[in-house]
């Protein structure tokens, strides 16, 4: 059984339909990359998986248990599924260490020193232990995004959703963030990435999904999608990417 099964999900905002019966399985320890043109629904799909948004039809299952529909404890669900946003969304009134320990302290009921130790350990792993008491606006974009990833990891999620985590960063900061993702992938973290970094998707993904008009138009291992795409649309999309020099 897959960790997450998305079964014919539909989502529309008013008259704009974004997901059109999209189905997708995410296996344990798998890194799934979502690619596709801007506006094709990558962010929406991620936000539906952790229920920041609600699908109108179809269902999504976590560990085989349905998490769409009424009566799901969202606060518990979100401990299982962490998300990191494009805009980091750190809490500006809290220091780095306060940002990353808020969840463990208030949601998991961890005690203060234990949370701090765990936080410091993760910060050292990403080389930011010396910034623990800084406030987010004193950090570079890349550092903020790394802290945001640590904040999600502090909850020990079973699945981590990463929504274009490098697209707000200057090119020279991108690699420091991607290094962490690579590291997590090596440690077996299950992740879904929405990304425009095709080179990285090709390197790190176990499965690449090309989204088009609210469905997974083509999915497969990176060697297939990037090397030998089957669908016409996939080919056209990749040609545009290659012409733009992004692969």
């Amino acid at each position: 059984m897959a960790l997450v099964e998305i079964d014919k999900a539909y989502k529309h905002y008013g008259s704009v339909s974004v997901l059109n019966g999209l189905s997708l399985n995410i296996e344990e320890h798998q890194v799934v990359c979502l690619i596709g043109p801007s506006g094709c629904g990558k962010s929406t799909l991620l936000r539906c998986i952790n229920r920041l948004e609600t699908i109108q039809k179809g269902e999504i299952r976590l560990h085989g248990d349905r998490i769409t529909g009424p009566g799901v404890d969202l606060d518990v669900l979100r401990r299982e599924i962490g998300i990191v946003f494009q805009g980091y969304n750190l809490f500006p009134h809290m220091s780095v260490i306060e940002n990353i320990t808020l969840g463990p302290l208030k949601v998991l009921g961890m005690d203060r020193s234990e949370a701090r130790d765990k936080g410091m350990a993760l910060l050292s792993r990403i080389g930011l232990a010396h910034k623990a008491d800084e406030f987010p606006d004193r950090l570079s974009g890349g550092q903020q995004q790394r802290v945001a990833i640590v904040r999600a990891l502090m909850m020990d999620p079973a699945l981590l959703l990463l929504d274009e985590i490098t697209s707000a960063l200057d090119p020279e900061l991108v690699s420091e963030v991607l290094d962490i993702v690579r590291d997590l992938a090596a440690k077996g973290m299950t992740m879904v990435l929405a990304t425009h970094e095709m080179g990285f998707a090709r390197e790190v993904a176990d499965k690449v999904c090309f989204l088009q008009e609210g469905v997974v138009y083509e999915e497969g291992p990176p060697s297939q999608i990037f090397g030998n795409p089957q669908g016409e649309r996939t080919k056209a999309f990749l040609k545009r990417i290659i012409d733009a020099g992004r692969l």
């Binding site: 969202l74 946003f85 969304n89 809490f91 009134h93 969840g103 208030k106 949601v107």
Partner: protein, 368 residues
């Protein structure tokens, strides 16, 4: 580049040089000089007539004339400033060096505007001074009877303690109560609707109702209701209840504006860590909301201090009521002036403080 294009560029450069000439601001400096001269005469005339009046009233001659000399001397300085501006202007006109001439012209303009604005200020002060002394100094006698002000000061300041008490207790209650209302107003979803609606009705109602009417209705109404406890509170307590209800409505709007100014992505980030709605509010949204709303909260606080004087209507012996009693015993309003002075002395520093906070906030945003 072909010849016609080169010629066009030369033409363009010539046009620019022709247009950007030196400005000497001759007319402006003349206007400034005339205005300051007229002001000087007006100030002198005002000082002479007021001084004569005061001497007539029995003030001693020496000090009155010496005090009168000060404004006259100051307005003469302004005239001197205008003369200096005129000198800059004429130098600018005769200077052969373009950049130097421009600098002189700019100096002339700035000095002229400065003297004009000082003159306007002087003229306003003159008008006020005339207002005080016309009609045999009726205005100063009515409002500024120094003797009565000094005599009433102690009694009035004691009564001001009541205002301070009412203010202090209601301020604390308002801060808490308004936050409750603000959170009620921002409750999400279908489940929150009834409470949201009630909160909206409450705040519309009490923002629409003049504070003086709320105080009147509560101060005189509750005792008539025969409700246990509520019917026999002190008039101070009624005043506190009424002010809390009124200002709670206003202040909740301030809080709400603060809450809504926090970007929704902060809610998404907090909720996706598994924080419940109320914890998100408590740890993430409200702390950020509070930062931006300190100036408007302080403004409300100043306004609350002033409105404690409204409780006079239900018979509370606050500073205003006390001074009214003294005023009617003496057939002179100067005791009320005492209260006015107290309120002004207390609120002006706070108003300055708020302005400073806002300024500091703005410069922080500019630099950051």
């Amino acid at each position: 580049m072909n010849t016609s294009a080169v010629l066009a560029n030369v033409e363009r450069a010539n046009q620019w040089r022709a247009r950007s000439k030196v400005r000497a601001y001759g007319a402006l400096t003349w206007a400034a000089f005339s205005i300051t001269a007229i002001t000087f005469l007006a100030v002198a005339a005002t000082v002479i007539s007021i001084a004569q009046f005061m001497i007539q009233e029995g003030w001693s001659t020496g000090p009155v004339w010496i005090a009168g000399l000060v404004p006259v001397a100051l307005s003469f300085l302004v005239v001197a400033g205008a003369a200096k501006a005129a000198r800059f202007s004429s130098k600018a006109r005769s200077s052969a060096e373009v950049y130097e001439a421009r600098a002189l012209g700019a100096k002339a303009a700035e000095a002229s505007w400065k003297t004009i604005s000082y003159s306007v200020a002087f003229l306003i002060l003159c008008a006020l001074a005339w207002f005080m002394v016309v009609n045999d100094a009726a205005v100063s006698r009515t409002f500024f009877d120094m003797d009565l002000i000094v005599r009433s000061a102690v009694t009035v300041i004691k009564a001001f303690g009541t205002n301070v008490l009412i203010f202090a207790v209601s301020a604390v209650l308002i801060l808490v109560w308004a936050l409750v209302i603000a959170i009620a107003r921002t409750l999400p979803g279908e489940a929150g609707r009834p409470i949201r609606t009630i909160a909206i009705i409450y705040s519309d109602l009490f923002r629409g109702l003049p504070a003086i009417i709320t105080i009147y209705l509560i101060g005189f109404g509750l005792p008539l209701t025969n409700l246990p406890i509520l019917k026999d509170l002190s008039s101070n307590a009624y005043a506190i209840i009424a002010l809390t209800l009124t200002y709670g409505a206003y202040t909740s709007e301030v809080y709400r504006a603060g809450i809504e100014s926090v970007h929704p992505s902060q809610i998404a980030a907090a909720r996706s860590l598994g924080l419940s709605y109320f914890r998100t509010m408590r740890y993430v949204i409200v702390p950020q909301a509070v930062r931006g709303i300190i100036p408007p909260l302080m403004n409300n606080c100043i306004s609350l201090q002033k409105d404690t004087a409204l409780v006079a209507i239900i018979g509370t012996i606050d500073a205003f009521n006390q001074s009214k009693i003294i005023a009617s015993n003496n057939f002179n309003l100067s005791a009320v002036t005492t209260v006015a002075i107290i309120f002004i002395l207390i609120t002006i520093p706070q108003a300055r403080f708020v302005d400073k906070l806002i300024e500091r906030d703005r410069s922080k945003r500019r630099s950051g």
